[in-house]
């Protein structure tokens, strides 16, 4: 992954979960870095040295024949302009409104060539109110999407629950998104390195440490949104994988919210980090595996009505 690309962190979370508190915490921490922050409405934000831009969440449907492909044109415009400055920002943070579906934000970074060239989607960070999350998930379609899309969850307001209740909440979150990294916090206080500039790090580690027993946990009540992960220990044939994933996302992309994988292709020394949002897919070589990691390839799908045997057969058929 090119280090000259500016990392973009997408900050989502339901109304009142503590997004603004976390954002203020990030901006006021003495990290010596400079961020550009896109907010949907000016709040009490405003830290010297950082640039805060007021953006309207303007979503449009692209004409690329992909039915679920909506992107944020305001991000293309505003980030496109900010990225023309050289060496001005260490990172960009995009805050979304509480009710927003994270898909268009994520898809924007697949669609626009200029953004792909100059920036990389670092992580989707979802702030969750531990106290209210169960009710929110029962009531809201968008809340389920925000959990499903997250690379990192900041589980906020943990001081309001006991350990057993927190574990129950985490189990429910993992039932939707098995590969997410969960950090507990109070009042948005969290070590910044857990949230910003994660690179491929979270994905690789989350997939490595994701226990297989989660595959048996198919019982969810979040509108059928669940995670399924698969692994094969032999190297994959790159062409066969691309053909399979391409056809799969084309056919089932509306239901597959996210797909992520760390893959070993036959004949390649480096591992390939793959990610997809609905029908849009992308990937990058992220360096060789450590010796003890072997040649295992892992992939996780987060979506609705996933067909486990079909996905498993498909992934296994990509072996070289």
């Amino acid at each position: 992954m090119s280090e000259t690309k500016i990392p973009v962190t997408v900050l989502t979370g339901f109304l009142g979960a503590g997004k603004t508190t976390l954002l203020n915490h990030i901006l006021s921490a003495g990290h010596g870095r400079k961020y550009a922050v896109l907010v949907n409405e000016f709040g009490e934000l405003g830290v010297d040295g950082d640039l805060v831009v007021d953006a309207d969440e303007e979503v449009f449907e692209t004409n690329n024949g992909c039915i679920c492909c909506t992107v944020r044109g305001d991000l293309i415009r505003i980030l496109g302009s900010l990225l023309r400055r050289r060496n001005k920002f260490d990172g960009i943070i995009v805050e979304t409104t509480g009710l927003a579906d994270p898909a268009p934000v994520a898809q924007t970074f697949f669609v626009d060539d200029n953004l792909r060239e100059k920036a990389r989607l670092d992580a989707v960070v979802t702030v969750v109110d531990a106290f209210n999350v169960s009710r929110t998930l029962d009531e809201s379609h968008e809340a389920v999407s925000q959990i499903a899309f997250a690379d990192v969850i900041v589980l906020n307001k943990t001081d309001l629950l006991d350990e057993a209740a927190l574990e129950a909440v985490e189990a429910r979150l993992r039932g939707i998104n098995a590969s997410v990294k969960i950090h507990r916090a109070c009042h948005g206080k969290i070590a910044l390195e857990n949230v910003l500039d994660r690179g491929g790090f979270d994905l690789a580690r989350a997939l490595e440490t994701m226990p297989d027993f989660l595959e048996n946990n198919e019982h969810t009540h979040e509108e059928g949104v669940t995670s399924m992960s698969f692994s094969v220990s032999e190297p994959l044939d790159e062409q066969r994988f691309q053909a399979w994933i391409g056809a799969l996302l084309q056919e089932r992309g509306a239901d597959i919210l996210r797909a992520k994988g760390i893959l070993h292709f036959a004949g390649q020394k480096e591992r390939f980090a793959f990610q997809a949002v609905h029908m849009m897919a992308d990937g990058d070589y992220i360096g060789p595996a450590r010796a003890e990691e072997g040649q295992e390839s892992r992939i996780v799908f987060i979506g609705r009505d996933l067909n486990r045997p079909q996905l498993r057969r498909g992934f296994e058929s990509c072996r070289a």
Binding site: D56, N63, S81
Partner: protein
């Protein structure tokens, strides 16, 4: 040609001058009297190039106009000076001597500005504001369904058109009651041009396409096949051709003989593998100025294959080009912060 490219003296060196300011150049314009050029940068500066000092960069001045990038630039309504919009949510007037006067400050970036001798149009977010020539009086504020991405007046200054999501809105500047003529096409329209004879409006789209509407009957025209997104489009003086960036050549669509529908575009000045990043049609002759992503700039004749190189590479992606009103002089700017000016009429 006898010399090897590297040994050739560039026309820019003999007929013009250049200076590296370091901040990426975003826009260029020439005042109506043709006496001053202005270029805007991502760091909010306006570089003023007086025609009298065209070959003497020590006479070029830098003015701090905006906090954040200069997003748009147009000649002022009068003979001298310019109008600029920026990331600091301001619209400013820049005098030929570099004085900066704030005309508007709001809550959104001022992304587009256009002018005629009688009117100023600028946009901030979804609003397009029309002011009188003084810039002090707001005549009307026109609302659009999404953020305005481009503004053009027609040649007579009677109509103004704004591009946005899902099409273009055409308004009459002087209408007592504002009724929009919507030109609809689904998707994100990111730039706009109007045929000098008022026959068509064309937009660049997010998906490496152009879309056009014939104004007589609203007929849709699609112009596709670009390898890259089109960022720059310019009609030739008589409206016969529409020149665009977006390929490794200047792409020209014919607007005559029934075109562009069903007609293939013509390519000029192909530099294999090097993409054209900015175009500007000459105001008086059948010539297109084109800038490329490696910093090359050239002039190409529409009626022939003739190409005149101005400079070759090594200056960063050319982001903007602009002729003087009679076409005797030209400036361009690049993303590496190079500003260059050339006198095309001079004879040695």
């Amino acid at each position: 040609m006898s010399a090897v490219a590297g040994e050739m003296t560039e026309l820019l060196a003999t007929r013009g001058a250049e200076k590296v300011f370091g901040s990426a150049v975003t826009a260029a314009s020439c005042a109506r009297d043709g006496q001053t050029f202005a270029l805007g940068t991502v760091d909010g500066d306006i570089v003023l190039v007086p025609v009298a000092g065209l070959k003497h960069p020590e006479t070029w001045t830098r003015v701090e106009a905006h906090d954040g990038a200069v997003l748009c630039l147009a000649p002022d309504t009068g003979k001298e000076g310019f109008l600029t919009g920026g990331e600091d949510n301001r619209l400013c007037r820049i005098g030929p001597d570099g004085t900066v006067t704030e005309l508007h400050k709001g809550r959104r970036w001022v992304e587009c500005v256009a002018s005629t001798p009688g009117h100023i149009a600028f946009s901030a977010g979804k609003q397009l504001e029309i002011r009188d020539s003084s810039g002090e009086t707001t005549l009307k504020t026109l609302e659009h369904p999404s953020t305005v991405t481009g503004i053009v007046f027609d040649t007579k200054g009677k109509r103004v058109a704004a591009s946005h999501y899902n099409g273009v809105s055409v308004w009459f500047v002087q209408a007592r009651v504002d009724t929009v003529r919507p030109l609809e096409w689904k998707g994100s329209h990111t730039a706009i041009a109007i045929h000098p004879g008022g026959e068509a409006i064309v937009t660049a789209m997010q998906e490496n396409d152009l879309h056009g509407w014939r104004l007589s009957d609203g007929h849709n025209m699609r112009m596709s096949g670009y390898p890259r997104r089109v960022s720059s489009l310019s009609f030739t003086r008589n409206g016969r051709w529409l020149a665009t960036s977006g390929a490794d050549a200047i792409v020209l669509w014919p607007f005559f003989g029934g075109g562009p529908m069903g007609k293939p575009p013509t390519e000029l000045a192909r530099l294999p593998g090097v993409f054209c990043s900015a175009v500007c049609a000459h105001p008086k002759s059948d010539i297109i100025a084109a800038g490329f992503e490696d910093g090359s700039v050239l002039l190409a004749e529409t009626g022939s294959e003739r190409v005149l190189p101005i400079c070759l590479g090594k200056r960063g992606r050319v982001s903007t080009l602009c002729f003087s009103p009679f076409g005797g002089m030209m400036v361009f700017g690049t993303e590496d912060g190079c500003v260059a000016a050339i006198d095309l009429s001079a004879s040695d």
